[in-house]
Symmetry: C2
Subunit: 432 residues, 2 copies
Amino acid sequence: MTPVKVAIIGFGTIGSGVAKLLLEHGDRIARRAGRPVELVRIVDKDLVRPRNVSVPRQLLTDDIDSVIKDPSISIAVELIGGLEPARSIVLSLLEHGKDVVTANKALLAEHGPELFEAARRLGRSIAFEASVAGGIPIIAAIGESLTANEILSIHAILNGTSNYILTQMEEQGQEYAAALAEAQRLGYAEANPAMDVSGADAAQKLAILAQLAFGAEVNWKEIPRVGIDTVQADDMRYATELGYHIKLLAVAERVDGELELHVSPTLVKKGTPLGEVRGAYNAIRIVGDAVGRVFFHGLGAGQMPTASAVVADVIDTAVGRAAITFRTLRLWSNDGPKVRLRNPDESRSRFYLRFNVQDRPGVLAEIAGILGRNQISIASVIQHETEEEAEGIVPLVIMTHAAAEGPMRRAMEQIDQLPVVRPGSVWMRVRD
Amino acid sequence: MTPVKVAIIGFGTIGSGVAKLLLEHGDRIARRAGRPVELVRIVDKDLVRPRNVSVPRQLLTDDIDSVIKDPSISIAVELIGGLEPARSIVLSLLEHGKDVVTANKALLAEHGPELFEAARRLGRSIAFEASVAGGIPIIAAIGESLTANEILSIHAILNGTSNYILTQMEEQGQEYAAALAEAQRLGYAEANPAMDVSGADAAQKLAILAQLAFGAEVNWKEIPRVGIDTVQADDMRYATELGYHIKLLAVAERVDGELELHVSPTLVKKGTPLGEVRGAYNAIRIVGDAVGRVFFHGLGAGQMPTASAVVADVIDTAVGRAAITFRTLRLWSNDGPKVRLRNPDESRSRFYLRFNVQDRPGVLAEIAGILGRNQISIASVIQHETEEEAEGIVPLVIMTHAAAEGPMRRAMEQIDQLPVVRPGSVWMRVRD
């Protein structure tokens, strides 16, 4: 059969991995696509930097038009990352009749509606398995395998860097800054880790999953999020004592017909599949009304896991499956049922609270009183006798029963105004 | 758009679940299939038995020809189970131009080559996501999402009944017979549990996965298997003491260019995702050369999880994706590369051994001597002082370093002939 011709735009880590698979495992891929899949061009501004794949020189170019204007190329893999020029290039590729495969979560979370609408109008497809959770086939699972279900909830660890840092903090007893530095030294965190540790990366991925699973039209910036840079070694220790791990949890859950969305460090029960996810792994727990609970675990980033997802999409596109999926999913389109976002104040959860208080009689009564007046009931309290009290200040840890976030925040504000409470109060969601 | 017409053959538990989804969630399914999916006939010999779904009377018939000979029906869902008449009916359905969706693992494990060849010849498709691991989309994962990979290994818990019983034995300290009776009382095990507890059901599913992932042409009966009916409460206790859970593990692994296949109760390290699978769940750990390790966990049986997989296949077939997948997978065909099965004697693992020995000097030396002469080296030994020795007989537990199964079996035979060793020696694989 005639080969299908593919171009890679963006020759960084993932691009090199994709080139490696296409060039070194052509037989395997041809067998699975039913025809040869030929890598004919790689576009990047930097043609000199060494990569861990050897590529025939004539494939390399810095001229994007050599792909856009070549009608023989039918699939373009966008691996530039970021918003521009990625957005303009993808639009141009679609307009010139190419199907697009992308790993660019930021692009989809920001410009998904525009790009998907353009692809639909032009009769092209966009495949994006690699944009969320790398090697875990979560896009296919939700978009194809679980289509008989109404999805009820998604609880996910979507940022491997954060999970690596949290695991280090827990296992080594390190503070956040030390664990981050270690992660940077080992290449698990970037020099500028802001997107990862702030929860922004996880929020972008959650926005894509929420669109796919719930038809939610949400800009990722509107998803309430707290990063792991707020987590302290003290909280790790208390979480352990209480029987929990702290995870950066991304949640999308149907409640009373509305959709609750948030990303935040959360105490997750030990011994549960999500709780036990360690190191740079991702994991996703989905509940569907027919299938029940399904759990996926794997590498969410890295060269070859991500390239594995990209090349699966290339094969899907080559065989025609991606076109069907794209047509039936109708992502970011106006015809599916819409779901309303839930007011974060109404989000209910158990909460972990930590206060730094003066070690004197009546403090617990004052705090418990404020919680009670805000309808928050206490499940357990930890206040240890400490030998090394810093100026008579001791930590007070409270686990609440389920309460709404609005009243909990109001209670925290009131508690923080008590003269006996020092700054630095902490709250986190709890997931049993 | 014109509706696609579907018939269900076999109106048991799964059939009722599929009818429920198609009849009660028609809107959802039509949206995802891009057209209405209309259930037009349900065939069963027993039209009287009550089911937990209300079905228009005119859909029900005991006449299979009313499906086979109705050219307006394009998708037939085979849920009869077993070999005959399921095999003849599927062949007849294919010959009459219907695409087939099936949950019948026994049928595929036994007659896969014949049925797939017939479907290919007739230009039809067979979709079978529900045949392995129920609600876990493992067929799609291997056949579509991981196609860029060479699969290196599959380690799986594929029988929920066995896992439920093993979990009960561990958590309640029950013997096998008591845990089985409890599982039967609660509906987790059938009156005749032979297929589940003997490992046969898991071997059938493993045969399907091995064909899909490795192109292995293996009859499930040739897969070496040991059932959970050999596991004793004593072994559970020792496993716990050593830091392991006992799981009925199905393994397909590439070793030196050959494929190792077996199903057996195995000591699986605590804290690992596979080790922590409890109750009636299934789980699959796959390693691909690009993606690394991916782990799936969910309900492997039950009405609605299985129906979820069946209806996903119906939608896949209706939109045309199943036809493409079926064509490109070329299962049980003669064109993929073939893999040779590894001689079980060469299979290497650490082993757990338990002997009942006379409590007298020199016994350990004799046993250790035999192991040593068979090149099996000992990693650790447990021999407790017991107060309630039965006639001077005590258990001796040995964990070995990695050894081949052939020499291990030979050593066991020699040890069993020692006068100081009583009958009932036990060996199990260990997975760290």
